[in-house]
Structure formats: structure tokens, C-alpha cells
């Protein structure tokens, strides 16, 4: 069965500092991978996705993520965090082919301090 692990429940960074949020997945083959962001009181918005090809993918709001097959990881990065990036971030994995369910990680809550 597929699974997603986000080992960091809560992360605090200073505004302007770099950010890396960790995500590890378990799946029998190369899955589709996603990062979603949820601002307080809002639904989830897609930040970026990896389907195939270049393992470094660019998303919205200056975020990027790198797929590393050997480490079963899909970490999210941003070079310089803005106060508006404070939110909860979810990594998700979806199987290739068919319409099986997408599995979400438990989320990482990002706090940005001045």
C-alpha cells in the first residue's frame, strides 16, 4: 500500500531564510507526487506536481521540489521565505494509471517569524 511520511509536524523559519520540507513516500513504482498548501480556513491548493521527466519541478509562489527515486523523497524547497508562506503543507502520492485514491501525508505546519 502506498504511504506518505512528513517527519516534521511543525517548522519555524525566519522571513528571508531558506526552507526545506521533507516528504518520503512508499510505493511500488514511481508514483505521481504532489505538494499542496493550505492557508488557515481554506481548502488545499496545488503548489506543484511531478509526473515524469525532469526531477526538479517548479511550482507556484517560488516553490520547487526535487524527486529522488533512490531516497523515495520529494522534498519541497524555497530559497527565501515570505511571511505569507505561513501555512500547512501536505505532500501527496497518487498511483500511475487508473483512478485509485491519492494518499496524503499528515502535513507540516510552517511558521514564519520576522
Amino acid at each position: 500500500a502506498q504511504s506518505v511520511t512528513q517527519p516534521d509536524i511543525h517548522i519555524t523559519v525566519s522571513e528571508g531564510a531558506s526552507l526545506e520540507l521533507r516528504c518520503n513516500y512508499s510505493y511500488g513504482a514511481t508514483p505521481y507526487l504532489f505538494w499542496y498548501v493550505q492557508s488557515p480556513g481554506q481548502g488545499l491548493q496545488l503548489l506543484l506536481k511531478y509526473f515524469s521527466g525532469d526531477t526538479l519541478v517548479q511550482g507556484i509562489k517560488g516553490f520547487e521540489a526535487e524527486f529522488k527515486r533512490s531516497q523515495s523523497s520529494f522534498n519541497l524547497r524555497k530559497p527565501s521565505v515570505h511571511w505569507s508562506d505561513a501555512a500547512e503543507y501536505f505532500c501527496a502520492v497518487g498511483p500511475k494509471g487508473g483512478y485509485q485514491k491519492v494518499t496524503f501525508g499528515t502535513g507540516t505546519k510552517l511558521q514564519v517569524i520576522p
Binding site: I9, F34, L44, L46, K49, F104
Partner: protein
């Protein structure tokens, strides 16, 4: 485009009451989903549908029912509300790409916060 619309946004129920959470999408997506979100637990799939007239259980279906009579609408019914159903509920939709490939990319509504007392 409105995308995925959920109503109501907030609701308080008494134990044993019933209610329906409404979800509508205007993107003509075939696939629709109901998730619940509890603190520290991520999102858990309750039910999903791959098209009108077709529904199936997700990870946590007990206490819920769904129907899909049209492509646009996917209501979630709680028959006998229990405190364990206090949660934030999200409806989502997705579809195949132009090449016919299912990707699992989800489009979410803004959520419905339900409290059962």
C-alpha cells in the same frame, strides 16, 4: 469559474441528527471525492466517485453515505451524527488529462466545518 463549491461552511449538529453536505463542481470532472481532515491526521478519504451513478468507499466510510446522480453534484450524508464526526470536510474533484491519463491532481473546495455536540 467557481471550481468546487461546498455548503454549508459551518454547521453544528446534535448527536443523532442527520444532515447533508453539498458539493458541486463546474469543471465537468468525472472524479469526485470526500475527505475529512482532523488535526495532525492529514486527509482521510471517505468516499469517492468515478462518474455519475458510481461510488465507492474510501478509508473511513462508516457513518456516511454518498450519491452521484449527476456529474456536477456529490453530496455527503451523515445519518446519525456522532461526536467522532466532528471534523472539517473537503470535497475535491479531478479528471483525466487531454491525453486520457489520470493524474490524481485534485481541486478542492473551501471545506465544511462540522461540530457534533
Amino acid at each position: 469559474n467557481a471550481g468546487v463549491t461546498q455548503t454549508p461552511k459551518f454547521r453544528i449538529l446534535k448527536i443523532g441528527q442527520s444532515m447533508t453536505l453539498q458539493c458541486a463542481q463546474d469543471m465537468n470532472h468525472n472524479y469526485m471525492y470526500w475527505y475529512r481532515q482532523d488535526p495532525g491526521m492529514g486527509l482521510k478519504l471517505i468516499y469517492y466517485s468515478v462518474g455519475a451513478g458510481i461510488t465507492d468507499k474510501g478509508e473511513v466510510p462508516n457513518g456516511y453515505n454518498v450519491s452521484r446522480s449527476t456529474t456536477e453534484d456529490f453530496p455527503l450524508r451523515l445519518e446519525l451524527a456522532a461526536p467522532s464526526q466532528t471534523s472539517v470536510y473537503f470535497c475535491a474533484s479531478s479528471d483525466r488529462t487531454g491525453k486520457g491519463e489520470y493524474t490524481g491532481e485534485l481541486f478542492f473546495g473551501e471545506g465544511s466545518r462540522l461540530t457534533v455536540l
